[in-house]
Symmetry: C2
DNA sequence: GTCTATACACCGATAGAC
DNA sequence: GTCTATCGGTGTATAGAC
């Protein structure tokens, strides 16, 4: 299977993803995107009718990727905490593998979207679907008496904070870890630390 | 003690804080700030020689406030976890009281700063000072055998993620909690949820 | 300190040739 | 699909009167 030459559209999306992730919507100009791709601005506007359309396409691409990875990795587990942890592990792998994903996901989560409700709804639904997976696993764990009766929204926020924020944290995070946030050793340790915290924090009985 | 009429400079800082917190550096124009304050653009540039200077002043103001509150609330505790928790509680109160603080703090933490090293250093040191407080408390708890031997940087990231991200989370967070993230009831519950998670997650022995 | 007026670069977006 | 050229608007920042 030979590498396929990426289409213009894909090259644009990849380039824009890096820029938007690093600096956000407003701080990135269409000219800069075009230059990096090696196109003129006009050619760029031929592929994406507006800057907002490009941005939304970039965000959707990331959410679809995260969703697909979780879907692909889904496996029936009898143990509720194992399911929660499996979700987190897959998510951490995804975020660690691509820092731009983490950055842009964090922006999507906390930035005010002054976007037309139509386009926003689609992304909101994708996001909700992603979060629902782990939310349901937690709920089932509680129902079965396996997990403490925590608040689902609060626990979701904690999990997002511990995963997405960590891999999105910029210079501050890099300073804390000596620029090695994404090294395999640090990713492994991140998993271990979060695992221990959540296992003790969520389980009713620790074996 | 009668309320003092805020100076122009203070009014500008307050106004800019709200705008920068909501939309970030690039998405806010000096014209908009000036209009909201009720000044002309030129008058605004008289008080702050550049947009970057205004932004840095806003961020510094927030960091100083957070630092001062923690300093004021500091009290000697024999118990290491109690000290950690006290720090978190004070921080949560500060963030919950002023959503703009949480937003802007999160931006400062994860946004790439293309700022001149001179100005950045000052803010970095303030930030480091704020984080060092809780980092040291955790370290002492570990040394005394009171807390599990967790990684300090990882635990800091988790704590920041659970506090700053939560109160900075925009529409997504509001959706999860029905627009009541900042209500006293939800703030109280946030504290309780984080407290339980960390107490179980960090302490060696749970009484 | 505040204003009006303006400089000038860059923005997103379009027109129209090839 | 890609280009050059250009539009109208806005961005930060400045000059100079009051």
């Amino acid at each position: 299977m030979q590498p396929i030459a990426p289409s213009s559209r894909e090259k644009i999306l990849e380039t824009a993803e890096v820029l938007f992730a690093a600096r956000g919507f407003s701080a990135v100009g269409m000219r800069e995107v075009a230059d990096r791709v090696g196109l003129s601005k006009s050619a760029l506007f031929h592929h994406f009718a507006s800057k907002l359309e490009l941005y939304l396409a970039v965000v959707e691409r990331i959410l679809v990727d995260i969703d697909a990875r979780q879907e692909a990795a889904a496996q029936p587990k009898s143990d509720a905490f194992e399911r929660v942890w499996h979700w987190i592990e897959v998510t951490i792998d995804t975020l660690a593998e691509n820092p731009s994903h983490a950055r842009l996901l964090l922006r999507t989560l906390f930035e005010e979207d002054d976007v037309a409700p139509e386009d926003e709804d689609h992304l909101d639904q994708l996001l909700a679907k992603i979060l629902r997976r782990v939310g349901q696993a937690i709920q089932e764990g509680i129902d079965r008496g396996e997990l403490r009766p925590v608040s689902i929204p609060h626990t979701l926020q904690s999990i997002v904070g511990m995963t997405v924020y960590h891999f999105a944290s910029g210079p501050v995070g890099e300073k804390l870890f000596g620029d090695e946030i994404y090294s395999s050793a640090q990713v492994r340790q991140r998993k271990e630390e979060v695992f221990q915290l959540l296992r003790r924090g969520l389980l009713v009985t620790i074996d």
